[in-house]
């Protein structure tokens, strides 16, 4: 009896909490589809707002995807070998480097952006290109990739795997590609998921760093909230959800698939 009571209470509390979190999302979706939010559902529904958003801000959607992808590529190229190098090196030096790499997470995005603008603001073409935003995103997301990979490296016996491959005649780069990489794949996938999610949703840094020509989706969203009617801003949210949710599910599926392959 008692156990039933507690589990029922658990379900109710979970449902209420979920509702509390989901209701604003649903309301946003509703607002973005309503002809007039203030007049309620009686005024009818339309896709006009979504159409207008797409017309005005389609470029920010694509830019966000490109930025996320480039950020991912750079964090993979730097973060994965970097994480392995740090774990191999070990000791106080490696820990210090890890702390420094993690610093941008703790520093407010605005401060980080300001520092980048102060340093590279003079380099006009670079300052005005999307790459400038990518650099900010890489600084911010790199620690997440590295920590994720380091966490997995610490659970596998990478030293013995490396020595085993070395004894079979494999040079260092081959040991990394053939043996280390496949065995830290879960960490890489988890890191990639975090990096892409963070990059697509990143606002702080990007708002400070962007130029009118390098707006990303969240910056466009802020624009829409500030200057457009409520329905358009909400329609923007719909575009964001439609874009991000399949992406997240997709990456999660890849993660599950890799995990199963590694486990079996």
């Amino acid at each position: 009896m008692r156990r039933q009571w507690t589990s029922t209470a658990g379900i109710v509390i979970t449902a209420l909490l979920s509702l509390f979190l989901v209701v604003p999302v649903l309301l946003s979706v509703y607002a973005g589809l309503a002809v007039n939010y203030a007049r309620g559902p009686s005024a009818g529904f339309t896709l006009d707002w979504v159409g207008q958003v797409w017309g005005l801000y389609a470029d920010t959607v694509w830019r966000s995807l490109v930025v996320a992808l480039l950020t991912l590529v750079v964090t993979l190229l730097i973060g994965v070998p970097g994480a392995y190098a740090l774990v191999r090196k070990g000791g106080r030096f490696a820990r210090a480097v890890e702390e420094i790499v993690t610093l941008p997470v703790a520093v407010p995005g605005l401060a980080l952006a300001l520092a980048l603008i102060l340093s590279y603001g003079g380099a006009g073409a670079f300052r005005q290109s999307t790459l400038f935003v990518v650099v900010g995103h890489v600084l911010f997301t790199l620690p997440f990739m590295m920590r994720s990979v380091i966490a997995v490296l610490e659970t596998i016996d990478w030293r013995t795997l490396d020595e085993g491959a070395a004894s079979l005649g494999a040079p260092a780069w081959r040991r990394f590609i053939d043996v280390i990489l496949p065995n830290v794949r879960p960490g890489i996938v988890a890191g990639a998921l975090t990096v892409v999610t963070l990059s697509i949703g990143e606002f702080n840094l990007t708002w400070m760093m962007h130029t009118p020509m390098t707006k990303t989706l969240p910056v466009g969203l802020a624009d829409a909230y500030a200057s457009m009617r409520l329905e358009i801003a909400s329609a923007y949210t719909i575009v964001f959800l439609v874009m991000v949710i399949p992406l997240l599910i997709g990456v999660q599926l890849v993660a599950d698939f890799t995990e199963k392959r590694t486990a079996s």
Partner: protein, 358 residues
Amino acid sequence: MNTHAPMVTTRSGASIATRRLSKSFNGTTVLHPTDLEIPAGQILVLLGPSGCGKTTLLRLIAGLEQPDGPDMIRFDGEDVSGVPIEKRNVGMVFQSYALFPNMTVAENVGYGLKVRKVERAQREAETRRLLALVGLEEYADRRISAVSGGQRQRTALARALAIKPRVLLLDEPLAALDAVLRERLRVEIGLLLREFGITAVYVTHDQAEAMAIGDRIAVMEKGRIAQIDVPKEIYHRPANDFVADFVGTMNRIAGRVENGLLNIHGGETMARLNVGGPDRATTLCFRPEAARLASANGAISARVAATTFFGATQRLVAEVSSECRLQLDLPSNVSVTPGQILAFEIDPAAIIEFQTEA
């Protein structure tokens, strides 16, 4: 094939020689200068407790550790001290196997050949041959996580042999297995290594394993080789106290020799061991199986404290005095009960007397 090393034409791999080979980590010496000669085709077992330097010595020969100085390790007379492990062409079997979880059993075995750019058909044929040799053909396509500990061990062995190494190095290869499997595999490994006729260095802390596998055994203590010899000599003629205690069970009787007869310290009974030589204080050592029952006259008498049945033999714990307890092996059909006073004698040829006495 490895282009750096000369082609090995014999089936027996390379001979190994170390010259004043030493290793220290941060000022702590873990291996004192060591001279070692292992003829081609011989299996040398490095035996000792943990921390005695046996694994360091193996890793130095493998190239996984750098020796303290140049020209300390030679394969077939060629200095390999500066050659990294990936170019040394050594086969290595690790205690934890170091198998690649992202590859199948067959891919693991074939990896060294793949690195050497052996063409696919030849590689697969060679892999199959080795898997057959260790009895794993039907597991070829299994993932490492899907085979048992013993099968992993064999996969590791096949993988190390696949590259036709100049020497095979095994670091406690059976330590991770349960006792029954360990006993079976040590026989199999011993046979396999002899069949290959490969030079092998085998590290273990298990003296039974060392006896079963080694052509010679090097007993190590505190970074030095205490004794290196064939198993029989190690057992019957240990060089010092440490070796005597580490390999098998050793009994000790302390006493004074007067007129060629031993008086046991603290014992009410006078032992009449005819050991000869000048009068001296000494400790005599003998193995449990060197004892046999004797007529009460002219023997050592001892009170039986406990007996353990081993099948063919039984082991007695017998007290000669309060300070002197002995372990004695007798045929199990001799009826002995605790509390009984026994008279026994020791095969004079089996008595060992170490020169130094603390």
